[in-house]
């Protein structure tokens, strides 16, 4: 029995199953909802299986076609990939349950195939060990995400989707050009082989510039964030949650991988880290101030994503001395932001469904009228602000500690200011949630499953604050951060 579990190709099924599900939902839209929910829950079980396997056997590697690198494509999963797959499955389950109540009729028939193919793309991306294969998964992910944004059908949504499409394609093309240069220079597209063969040269710098620019555009780091707020704010609510929680993290994950494995050993210390840190700091301040200025709830949350993405990049200049704790901080921030931001968008979607609008000043006592949703928003807000005891707190605390250790007072100041601004925009929303609006609007009932999923995901973001030890030991499997820690 144990051998079956440890030898089963969990990773491959994680990719093939959602593709199959997407095809089935496309063929038979009348059973799309039930098929979609079933597939997403099975995918979550598969991730548990993969975790069990990685825990027992160490890193997972699958040579597709039996060729092995450099001729074939390899799939690879270590602790970091596993955590990304796990958070995708977790948020994916929440979004699926939410969507089952949110989408009706024709929209549901279009949503499920797109979402399952997006899930397949995310899983394939987190399992990829091949930079060209990553490009293909970017294409899958980008097209699915753009089509999902356009599903809202409004004029703003279509405009935002078009802008998102152009930004995503530009990012992909820049990335692909970098892949071509690396292949020409070193004769392989496998990450592990590139690590062995690559040496400092103009090609490395050009590839870093192109791939970095493409990935930063996809990750929406300031000042390349212009496409994010309209796309994330005008998409249907479950899609907003998916985009902010997972899709933006996917390109960040690839950036992190490439930086850690290929570029850092070759060009580390030449100022790239400082530039990324500077942009991250600017993103925190700009995104937070813009969030504070918004009058619409979903736009506020979207700008908050711009700010929270900034925190992820503060780790780059801090790694040199603080090593492990800076990367642990990044892992924690990615996980907790995924849960908290998904919950926050869902709460906003509930308010939108309830009142028919998302004007912050007209929230009109939702604390009494939709207590579960208000609680979900508040709990997610705790994690976004970085207050204890939440996942966001652990991440920001580790980051602050690393900055203090190196005497980077500028970054410390930015982090504290960012936290204060986040508190500003969250309490602004909560304040209006308690007060009575001038004009009362008619309200519609919100399905209970939509309220509960928001609350459960927000609770997940808080609970993450108590799981620091197991999570951080899990992410160390396979030594993704190159710190030479012994595998458990």
């Amino acid at each position: 029995m144990g051998a079956v579990f440890t030898e089963f190709p969990w990773g491959v099924i994680l990719i093939l199953l959602p593709v199959t599900g997407g095809i089935l939902c496309f063929l038979w839209p009348q059973i799309a909802k039930i098929t979609g929910l079933f597939i997403v829950f099975v995918v979550a079980l598969l991730v548990v299986g993969l975790a069990w396997q990685i825990f027992n056997n160490g890193v997972y590697r699958h040579a597709v076609g039996g060729w092995g690198a450099p001729l074939g494509v390899d799939l690879y999963a270590d602790g970091l990939s596993l955590l990304m797959l796990a958070i995708t499955a977790l948020v994916g389950m929440g979004v699926s349950v939410y969507s089952a109540a949110y989408f009706k009729h024709e929209q549901a028939a279009q949503f499920w195939p797109l979402w399952l193919l997006l899930l397949a793309a995310l899983n394939a991306l987190f399992l990829s060990a091949d930079i060209f294969n990553v490009y293909v998964t970017f294409e899958l992910m980008g097209l699915a995400a753009v089509a999902l944004v356009a599903l809202a059908g409004s004029r703003e949504a279509l405009g935002a989707a078009m802008r998102y499409l152009l930004a995503a394609l530009l990012g992909s093309l820049a990335y692909l050009l970098g892949v071509a240069l690396l292949y020409h220079g070193f004769g392989t597209v496998d990450i592990a082989l590139l690590v062995e063969r690559a040496e400092p040269s103009p090609v490395i710098w050009a590839a870093l510039g192109l791939m970095g620019a493409g990935l930063l555009l996809k990750t929406a780091l300031f000042p390349l964030h212009f496409w994010l707020p309209p796309a994330h704010a005008s998409a249907p609510t479950p899609v907003s949650a998916l985009l902010s929680a997972l899709v933006v993290k996917a390109s960040f994950y690839i950036l992190l991988r490439l930086w850690l494995e290929i570029f850092d050993p070759l060009v580390g210390g030449a100022g790239v880290e400082q530039l990324l840190g500077l942009l991250g700091a600017a993103a925190i301040l700009w995104g937070s101030v813009q969030a504070l200025r918004q009058t619409r709830l979903k736009l506020l949350i979207a700008y908050s994503t711009v700010a929270q993405v900034g925190y992820l990049f503060l780790a780059f200049p801090l790694v040199a001395a603080a090593g492990v704790s800076a990367w642990s901080a990044v892992t924690y921030l990615v996980l907790s932001h995924a849960l908290a931001k998904a919950a926050m968008f869902m709460a906003a979607g509930n308010l939108l469904c309830f009142g028919g609008h998302d004007r912050i000043t007209d929230l009109d006592r939702v604390v009494q009228r939709l207590p579960l949703t208000a609680a979900a928003f508040a709990l997610a807000g705790v994690s976004i602000m970085g207050l204890p005891p939440s996942g966001g707190f652990i991440g920001k605390w580790l980051l602050l500690e690393a900055a203090l250790m190196q005497g980077r007072w500028d970054l410390v100041a930015v982090m504290i200011l960012g936290g204060l601004l986040a508190a500003g925009y969250i309490f602004k929303v909560l304040g209006y949630a308690f007060t009575q609006a001038d004009i009362s609007h008619e309200s519609k009932a919100v399905p209970a499953s939509m309220e509960w999923t928001a609350l459960l995901l927000a609770c997940g973001a808080i609970l993450l604050g108590f799981l620091a030890v197991p999570v951080l030991s899990l992410v160390g499997i396979g030594d993704p951060f190159g710190i030479g820690e012994v595998r458990p």
Partner: protein
């Protein structure tokens, strides 16, 4: 290199640049699309000169042919007042200003081009890449054309995902629009005869390209593009499939490529232990099955993209009204 080829290549390169610029700067969108198609055809020629006939075929069929048809279809849907090129006609107020933000992208592109030029010159002119590994394993791959061997065997997983990308593109278009199935413009006698004559020939060419792909330039994408072109021609001639065929049967044909690919991936995983690991003796047959299914799906998907909307929605609207 002889003087003649040198002159030819220089002319080709200059024409490409000129066509690209004209396509961007032309205020009339119809002309811009025609220039774009011409650009695609010359680009195909450039690929031939670079000894990449597979890419040339794909560029001619998809880059010039079907993309041009799709652009024309999009143009036909635009309102006449919207159908102009904003890029080519700058707003009046910006004309007097010497410095405008429009220069920023231009300067960025100039810098990137210079940097890339430097990097490309610093690279060795010839890189063998993986061609020795490909050649060494060609015999057991099931295809003697190295491009087909890479696409369907060595990196078959990438192709599996790429075919799903095509399906996704159609899903995206379908989520935006409904198909105009009622439109039956009386086709001119010329178009009608042409469509009747050419469709069987297109199908024959597609079958040939599919078959020849195993050992010479060709394959599923090129064959699918030719099949798609036949579909576009039929749609232009006013032909519409019966409503009954536009429901589940159409969707089944659209997914047969990705579905067969996924099934083969699952079976090989079960039998051989690795996804898409073909037994060398059956590799050729498996590749042919995968390519045939992919050709059908690609062809129908491209024609459906040209139709430009979800046929299901049309039925529903008709029932309501």
């Amino acid at each position: 290199m002889t003087l003649l080829t040198w002159i030819f290549d220089s002319l080709l390169g200059l024409s490409l640049l000129w066509l690209a610029w004209r396509a961007l700067a032309c205020p009339n969108l119809f002309k811009a699309i025609v220039l774009f198609v011409a650009f695609g055809l010359l680009m195909a020629l450039a690929w031939v000169r670079l000894a990449a006939p597979d890419v040339a075929l794909a560029e001619a069929a998809i880059g010039a042919g079907l993309t041009g048809a799709l652009l024309m279809a999009a143009l036909a849907k635009l309102h006449p007042t919207e159908a102009h090129n904003d890029f080519a006609v700058p707003p009046e107020k910006n004309v007097t200003k010497v410095w405008s933000w429009q220069w920023l992208p231009a300067i960025t592109i100039l810098l990137v081009t210079t940097g890339l030029g430097y990097v490309v010159l610093s690279l060795p002119p010839y890189a063998t890449g993986l061609s020795t590994e490909v050649a060494a394993n060609l015999e057991i791959s099931g295809a003697s054309n190295p491009v087909t061997a890479v696409l369907l065997n060595f990196r078959g997983y990438d192709t599996l995902l790429e075919i799903v990308v095509l399906l996704l593109a159609l899903l995206g278009v379908w989520s935006l629009n409904s198909a105009d199935l009622d439109h039956k413009a009386a086709p001119g006698i010329v178009l009608d005869t042409l469509a009747r004559l050419l469709t069987p020939i297109f199908i024959l060419v597609a079958a040939y390209l599919l078959w020849v792909g195993a050992h010479a330039p060709g394959g599923a994408f090129q064959a699918g593009a030719v099949l798609g072109a036949a579909g576009v021609l039929l749609l232009l001639a006013g032909w519409r499939p019966r409503t009954g065929l536009m429901a589940l049967p159409l969707r089944l044909v659209l997914v047969i490529g990705p579905a067969i690919f996924v099934i083969v991936a699952m079976l090989t995983l079960l039998i051989a232990g690795q996804m898409l690991e073909y037994p060398p003796t059956q590799a050729g047959a498996l590749i042919l099955i995968l390519e045939t299914a992919a050709t059908v799906s690609i062809g129908v998907t491209l024609a459906a993209l040209f139709l430009g909307g979800d046929p299901r929605k049309n039925n529903r609207n008709k029932n309501h009204t």
